[in-house]
Symmetry: C2
């Protein structure tokens, strides 16, 4: 459970705050990218980065070639934000209209994964983003490892907000002559597309052809993908 302090307490709609570690993990484990915020010369920057949870840390993947990545890896305070949109909430007024979402915010300091832990970190990232892929790929080359930077942020100070309900209209609006409800949203995968330079005899592996979202954002209806 995250410490209850001024920085991570949710003040707006506090009833939507969730303090359960399993919920934090589930939100992070469904994310493929995170918005990583940090500051350089008083200017805030937000970079989208590939992410994967490794136990009680979040791994973030970028390139050593990036000026912003270097600023990050130097031990900058960061805020990592992950948001899943799960639906559109049609209330009886614009004011009450909203979205279903699950969002996680992690505050901390990013540090670079050490050279001797980089291979493990890349395996965790690859298996998170492309489950089943690591075992069939050749081992990374030394120059590839050298050109890759992985950051880690401990999951110590965090907050989670979840909006998963229906419209919460006041009684005086319930007779408004409009429909009210929710349109669920989710991530869908379409059929795999071969690379144009794919060599013959290399079929789509089952871990790709059976690919589905890592978790349901909405109901998975029969016949939907």
């Amino acid at each position: 459970m995250s410490p209850r302090d001024a920085r991570t307490d949710v003040r707006r709609l506090p009833e939507k705050q969730v303090r359960d570690l399993a919920t934090l993990h589930a939100i992070l484990d469904e994310a493929m990218h995170a918005a990583v915020g940090f500051e350089v010369d008083r200017q805030p920057f937000v970079l989208p980065m590939a992410c994967a949870r490794d136990g009680d840390h979040l791994l973030l993947h970028g390139s050593t070639g990036s000026r912003l990545m270097r600023a990050l890896a130097a031990g900058a305070p960061v805020c990592v934000s992950v948001t899943h949109l799960d639906g559109l909430v049609y209330a009886r007024s614009a004011f009450e209209s909203s979205m279903r979402y699950r969002s996680a915010t992690v505050l901390g300091t990013a540090t670079e994964v050490a050279a001797d832990e980089k291979l493990h970190a890349l395996e965790v990232l690859t298996e998170h983003l492309l489950p089943g892929r690591w075992a069939e790929l050749r081992a990374p080359r030394a120059k590839e490892l050298a050109a890759t930077s992985v950051l880690r942020v401990p999951l110590d100070e965090w907050s989670v907000k979840v909006g998963d309900g229906f419209p919460d209209d006041p009684d005086e609006d319930l007779d408004e002559p409009v429909w009210a409800g929710v349109v669920p949203m989710r991530v869908a995968y379409d059929d795999p597309v071969d690379a144009p330079d794919l060599r013959p005899g290399r079929p789509v592996p089952p871990h790709v052809s059976s690919r589905r979202p890592t978790a349901a954002s909405g109901p998975h209806l029969p016949g939907s993908r």
Copy 2:
């Protein structure tokens, strides 16, 4: 076209930078939320906020009740980041594996929309997120407008990155005994769900039942939603 300066020039994979204003607009117009980065007492924060483009500005929606929103509305330098994930790129190595994405970054200063422009801003936000809804809803009440804060950020300093290709493996990897290609991803909508307290005689309107993603993130296959 964004000015070419040190803050918004893409240094990592510069060939992926796009300087076309129409592409910026398309990325923002497909986004329902943005990650808004700013700083309070040297700590970076990133808030997910509902967003909508209004001409050459981006509107961001929050609540006057939020301490962070107040810091933002006070004229803080911000970085607004929007990212769409369009697919998973299975290369022949972990190093070349990547994602298809479109991301936009806007640097600037957030200012609060003035009281006499708030109604317009709410219409733009509502119609962006729930197209067709504004005309059928009652007018916002004065107390609702007072409790709503909308920020705007000019689209002056920005950068766009697009990764839309196939694996870019070096020649020496093309004979690796693995499949290579792309798994397209997109946002899908499921069937609308009535609010539990929905009054009779209020059917799902066509603008809801026909709801589809605002733009295709991947191919829309026959029979898929």
